[in-house]
Every structure is written in C-alpha cells, then in structure tokens.
C-alpha cells in the first residue's frame, strides 16, 4: 500500500525519538541520588545485603552497559522489578494502565464531542452573544488549573449536589462483585452483567474525565471556531453556495471537514497534554492509574518503575501521533500528494 510507504519515514523518525527518550530517561534515573538498593531494603539492612542487591540490579556496571542491558530487557518485555511493589514493572504497568486509558479516552471524547460543536456554533453566530459566551468559556477552560477545576467539580457535584462520587473507580459495594477481566471498568462491569455496577462506573468516571477535558476542550473550541471562520471565506465554499446547496449542508459537511483538519493536527499534542494532566486528576480523585504509580515512583526513587512509566507514556504518545498521521493522510488528499515535506 503506498499509504504505508508514505508513513515509513514518519515511523523511523519516531523510533529515533523513542530511542532518544529512553536514553534521556535512563540517564536521569541512574543519576538520581540515593542508593536505590538501599531504599529498597530499608535502613536496617546490612551493607552486604545492599551491596548484593546492588550488584544484582547491576548498579555497579558502567552506565552504558546498564543501558544496553535495559534495552535488551525492554525488547523482550522485561522492565525490571519495581522497588515499591516488588512486582515486575511490566506487570504493574499492565495492571494500572487501563484505568488511566479509560480516563484519558473519555476525556478525549468529551473534548471533541463538546468542543467541536461549540466551535462550529460560535463560528456560525460570529460576533453574537453565543459566540462571545463561547469564547469566554474557551479562554477560561484553558486558563483554569486542572487541579482547581477538579476540586471545584468535587465540591459542587460531590458535596453540595451529591450527584457523583468523588474518588475511586467503583463504589465499594460493587467492587466486590466485579472481577477484573480487561481492567477497563466499563467493560468489566458489562461482562459481569451488572447494569447497576456499570452505571456506577460511569458515575465515577464522569467527574475526573470532565475535569481533565477542560483544557483541551477550550483549545478545540478556539481552533474549530477560527478555522470555520477561515473556511467560510474560501472560494470553494462560496461556489457551493452558488450552486444552491442548502446552507446547513455547506456548513456541516463541506466546511466542517476542512475545518476538522487543524483540530486533528493538535489532537496528538492534546493527548500528550492529557497524559501529563492525568497525574493531577488521578491524585485529586484517588484514581488508581498509571500516573499515580508514576508519581509515587518518582517520590520513592523507584528507578525501574520510573523508567518504565516514562517509556510507556512516550510510547503512547508516539503511537497516538502516528495514528493521527494515518487518519490525516486518509482524509486530506493534499497530504498524500505532497508526501513527507518536513
């Protein structure tokens, strides 16, 4: 497929980026002060025990050798052991990743599902009250700290209105009955056949996902609005009006597809932003995801976990960008013709 051929340079660029990332993160983790082996065993362990663990962990070898060991381990799926949990890091990551993915995916969906229509409405209503209100909202959404909006949502919907729970993924009374199949609470509750639990999972998801989605939503609104305004002035849209096509068709089909492209371009960036922002949200909402694990590994100098989490996030980011590139390539024929012009 020549689509594949077009994307190969992208792929190699990304591999290089990932490699660079791994070097960077690895170096940082090995430069962390404190003896990881000591921290793992605690203050009461004897020096020989620490030394033995250290040599087991390979901490005495030269940095380059450690890195090579690590990379070779990485490729076969061995990310080392987590010092906090004593489990293989890979296991920990696989266990905690779905929670974060669920959160992030719903946030992305909310961002797009709310952001794009609002942007279109604002553009259609240009200069009017609706437009101004939407713009103020968009500005506010990108300016508010995510932890703040999280707290505000908790206070309003959790405390005062008592509509949604404010921590965790599932209320206690349900978590006993649901077994973990995929790690995705929405799916697992369905698999267990409990509609109540499923609804409960949604109730737990909605506030954190909403809080996380604000920043990106604001950006999407603004970009959609400005590209819709931009497109409306183009010759081909004027021509469409001249051919007597109904107005809503020209706007929602012919303009929107063009305007969607700039939005799609930033979705990769947004995803990175989401991954970073998830940290805060997971902490505020007590969400047992990867981000929380990552923060803890930073605070406890859990080197393997830290590198593992960072690499995972880097990989997810690279993958998302790749997927976005694939989609863009499919819907915008101009890219196909131009090839990779970077």
């Amino acid at each position: 497929m020549d689509q594949l051929k077009r994307l190969i340079p992208r792929l190699s660029g990304m591999t290089i980026s990932l490699l660079g990332l791994s070097v960077l993160v690895f170096t940082i983790s090995r430069v962390l002060p404190g003896n990881p082996a000591r921290m793992a065993l605690g203050a009461r362990a004897s020096d020989e025990q620490v030394a033995r663990l250290a040599s087991e962990m390979g901490l005495n070898k030269p940095l380059a050798a450690q890195y090579l060991e690590y990379i070779s381990g990485l490729l076969v799926g061995d990310l080392g052991l987590s010092l906090q949990t004593r489990n293989p890091v890979l296991e920990d990551i696989i266990f905690k990743l779905p929670a974060t993915l669920e959160l992030i995916t719903l946030s992305l969906v909310l961002m797009i599902a709310i952001g794009i229509p609002l942007g279109v409405i604002a553009a259609q209503n240009r200069g009017g009250l609706l437009d101004n209100m939407t713009r103020v909202f968009a500005f506010s959404a990108v300016s508010v700290p995510s932890f703040f909006i999280a707290i505000v949502l908790q206070v309003i919907f959790g405390f005062y209105l008592d509509l949604f729970p404010i921590t965790g993924r599932l209320s206690l009374k349900y978590s006993q009955t649901i077994t973990r199949e995929t790690g995705f609470m929405l799916i697992d509750t369905l698999l267990a056949g409990s509609v109540a639990a499923h609804a409960n999972a949604w109730a737990h998801l909605i506030l954190p996902a909403l809080a996380l989605s604000f920043g990106g939503m604001g950006q999407i609104i603004r970009i959609t609005r400005s590209s819709m305004v931009d497109i409306e002035g183009k010759d081909f849209i004027e021509a469409s009006h001249g051919f007597g096509l109904p107005r809503w068709l020209v706007v929602y089909k012919y303009s929107l597809k063009n305007a969607f492209i700039p939005t799609l371009t930033i979705i990769g960036l947004l995803y990175a932003w989401l991954l970073g922002g998830a940290f805060i949200i997971e902490i505020v909402f007590g969400w047992p995801g990867l981000a929380k694990y990552g923060v803890q590994s930073v605070l406890t100098t859990d080197v393997n976990a830290l590198v593992g989490v960072t690499m995972t996030i880097g990989l997810m980011f690279v993958l998302t960008n790749f997927i976005v590139d694939v989609i863009l390539d499919r819907i915008d024929p101009r890219i196909q013709l131009a090839g990779d012009a970077t």
Partner: protein, 370 residues
C-alpha cells in the same frame, strides 16, 4: 429610470440601480454605483472592464453571495419576473443552481479540496437548488435513495458534455489531482447540472494558459448552442467578449459607461474609455497602436467627483467633475454616459481617430498620470 435608458422586452435578468458598498477599516467603499443591465432570453451578454471595476461584485450581488454586513446592497434584481432581494433566504438559495448557475473565477480554488469530485457533483445534482431538505432527509436520500444513482449518472453525463477527459476517473479524483483545464470543465459542469436558465460566468478560463483558455471558450459556445441558455459573462478581454457575445456592457469605476450590441460597440464606440480600450488592442495590420490609457482604476473610498473616469480621460474638462454624466441612448441597445454626448455640450464628440491621437499625445508628452 430615465427616458433615455434602453429597455429590453421580457428580459430574463434585469438589474436596476444596483449599488454595493463595503464598510471597511478606512471608511465606506462605494464599489458599485447604480448599475443597470439586463439579459434577454437565450442571449449572451458580456460585462467588460478592468480588474477592480466592480464586475465580480456585481455578479455576486446578483447571486446573493455577498454577506450583508460588511456589504450594503441596494437596488433591484429581477430574475424571470421575481424580485430576488425580497425572496426569503431559503427560496433564494434554491434559485441558485436551479434558475441561475454561477461559474466562479479561479477553477483551482473553487472546488472543495477534501472531497472527491464525484461526491461534490452528485450532491449538487441531487440537492442543489432543490426545495430545502433537512439533515435527516439528506442522509436518507444520499445513502438510501434511488435518486442518488440517477444524480450520479446525470453528473457523469454533464461531465461528458463539457468534454472532460476520462469522466469516470475524474469523478473519483480529488480536485488537486486534476489539471486547471479539467477543473474549469468540472466547475462548468457543476453549474449546468440543474439546467439553469441563466449562467453567470466570471472570467472563464482566465486563470489558465492560453490554449486551454481557447478550448474553454469554444466549449462554452458549444454549450450555448446546445442548451439555449442565457449567459452573463464577465471578462476583461475585449476579444473574448467579441467572439461570444450578442451584447456588451463596458464597466468602469462601478458604473456601466457604455452598452450596445457587439457590432455597435466595435464599430461605433462612443465612450472615451471604450475607444481607449479598442485603440489598445494590438492589430496584426500595421497602423499605430496607442499605448493604452494611463492611470489606474479609481479608489473607492474617496472616488473622483463627477464622472469617475475623468482623471484618465483625454476629453475631460471641468464639466466632467461637477456632475455624474447623464445616460444617453442611441438605439434600443446602445447607450453611453458621457458629458460629451449631452445635448447641450459644446465639446467635440469623441471619435476613434481623435481618441487615438489624444492618447498618443499624452503618452509622448509624458503628462503625469493621476
């Protein structure tokens, strides 16, 4: 309308006292200033003028493509007896494509780049100018209706009529995969899909190179012969106008300064501007060729007083500045707006030889152009 205005019987399009202005940063730009024109049934009419004289704006006002702020449109446009400006928006939209078809100026930028040509054409065939359909009926008819394949076929047939090479392939292509000439044909096809009675063509083929331009023009004459439509054509090229039109309007500075049949214009031009244009056409036979008319189109925010052409006119004097020259009719079709033709004017009536002489004079003497 004054008595001296030439009037057509039963025109398909009639424009009276059309004025268009734009509210801009620097002030109000008075771009079209009281234009009167008409197009008869099965007639080909050209509007000829330099870039910036307001011809495109006029056609956009006719088809209703101007956003009312920042534009301000006044006057009347009657199509087939219906007053266009008083129509509600939805009916106005269905008129486009159905009664009036418009071919825009730049073919490469007038087709939507992210949709296949077939999609755009079939949508136009199925939904262009039809009584307004909502989103639900759109989805139903586009994906499930039998008229979809009829529309597709119609689009394909029209492409063949405009002599599109490999029409099936073209339907599946994206606009940026097509050449300029092919895009122009596609655009013409799209305008013809719903069998309009009036086709408005804005500088057809100008953006393309000369050989293609020629082909497009001959395509247009073929279509005209076949379909018995009226055409209102915009061009800055007198030669093109001569080849295809029955009647010509010469436009300058937002006004029609002269009108007449093609013969009348080319054999008995009246207005100094028209004469200047004709004098500038290079001739294959020897004979002097004037250097063209010095100067450029007037600024619309602060236009010249009186006749807008007077800064460049070789016959100008003070009476040109003080008043808008009255329109004088010479026949059922010919008219001009020039003080020199007013019944009480003492000055000489402009003639071709005299105009040529005066233009060459100013060119030689290097008088400064405004």
């Amino acid at each position: 309308m004054t008595v001296t205005e030439p009037v057509l019987d039963d025109p398909i399009l009639e424009v009276s006292d059309l004025s268009v202005g734009f509210e801009g940063f620097d002030g109000y730009a008075d771009v079209v200033n009281g234009v009167n024109l008409s197009v008869g049934r099965s007639e080909i009419v050209s509007i000829v003028g330099e870039t910036g004289c307001g011809k495109s704006v006029t056609t956009k006002a006719i088809t209703g493509l101007l956003d009312q702020p920042p534009a301000r449109v006044s006057g009347t446009v009657t199509f087939d007896g219906t007053d266009l400006f008083s129509l509600p928006q939805k009916e106005r939209v269905s008129l486009n494509g159905n009664g009036i078809g418009m071919v825009s100026q730049d073919p490469m930028s007038s087709l939507n780049p992210v949709f296949e040509l077939g999609e755009q054409l079939t949508d136009t065939a199925q939904f262009g100018g039809k009584s307004p359909s909502g989103p639900l009926s759109y989805v139903r008819r586009r994906y499930f209706g039998e008229d979809r394949s009829d529309a597709y076929q119609r689009a394909l047939d029209t492409l063949k009529q405009v002599q599109m090479p490999n029409p099936e392939g073209a339907m599946k292509s994206y606009p940026n995969e097509l050449s300029g000439g092919m895009c122009q044909r596609a655009l013409i096809a799209q305008a013809l899909l719903n069998e309009p009675d009036l086709l408005i063509a804005d500088e057809p083929g100008t953006a393309l190179d000369v050989t293609i331009h020629d082909k497009i023009l001959s395509l247009l004459s073929d279509i005209i012969a076949e379909r018995n439509m009226s055409i209102l054509m915009i061009t800055h090229n007198l030669g093109v106008a001569r080849e295809l039109s029955d009647r010509i309007y010469i436009m300058y500075g937002g006004r029609i300064v002269e009108s007449g049949t093609t013969t009348e214009i080319f054999e008995h031009p009246k207005h100094p501007y028209t004469q200047g244009l004709l004098a500038s056409i290079p001739r294959l036979s020897s004979d002097s060729m004037s250097d063209g008319i010095d100067g450029s189109v007037p600024e619309y925010v602060d236009p010249p007083d009186g006749c807008r052409f007077h800064p460049r006119c070789p016959y100008a004097d003070e009476s040109c500045q003080s008043q808008q020259p009255p329109k004088k009719a010479f026949s059922k079709t010919a008219s001009t707006e020039c003080v020199r033709y007013a019944s009480d004017d003492p000055g000489p009536e402009p003639t071709m030889t005299e105009t040529r002489r005066r233009l060459n004079e100013t060119a030689i003497s290097g008088a400064d152009s405004t």
